[in-house]
Symmetry: C2
Subunit: 110 residues, 2 copies
């Protein structure tokens, strides 16, 4: 899997997912890796950065299956940033699709 495709998009995914309800890190890792090939070492630094930037608040909660889990809650600032990112993503992916479509017309890529 091309690692470059993931740049910025994983941030978008995390923000969108955490906008629905609070998740803990390991849970996000597993949910994302069901759809995209990623490793833990990618998500944890990302969550830390987004928290430092004020987009997440965190709290700990005990678990009966292991150590306490750190939950991530999207702040108001985080919601605004998420909406901005989503909007940019829609605009960008539309641009890419326009390019791809017009150049695949009548092309069989044999």
């Amino acid at each position: 899997m091309n690692t470059q495709f993931k740049k910025g998009v994983l941030e978008l995914c995390v923000l969108v997912m955490a906008g629905q309800k609070d998740y803990y890190g390991y849970e996000l890792v597993n949910m994302i890796s069901d759809n995209i090939q990623i490793s833990e070492g990618t998500i944890y630094p990302l969550l830390r950065r987004l928290t430092q930037e004020g987009y997440f608040s965190t709290y700990l909660k005990e678990s009966n299956e292991g150590p306490p889990r750190k939950y991530y809650r999207l702040t108001e600032q985080g919601k605004a940033y998420r909406d901005e990112l989503v909007s940019e993503w829609v605009s960008f992916s539309n641009g890419v699709n326009r390019i791809m479509e017009s150049f695949f017309k009548g092309e069989d890529r044999s």
Copy 2:
């Protein structure tokens, strides 16, 4: 515009576009920037790298509107790489869409 979204995707766009017919650099810059905000400083180094990696062959052609144009032709190796990238992009963007869709259900993002 989030610069991170573009990582890897511009390479994909250039390869797909040049797969149809030969283009010169300035032409590619203008065509892409009609759909996505980019600058020359992004595309020229990209074309040079892809040429060094054997995905493009180049030739010069005189122009009556300015200096000679350097045309880029996709090699067989380039076509194989392009097809691989396209396949990975389809797989990746489907994964992202699955995540986005499932988390925007019933979400009004007020």
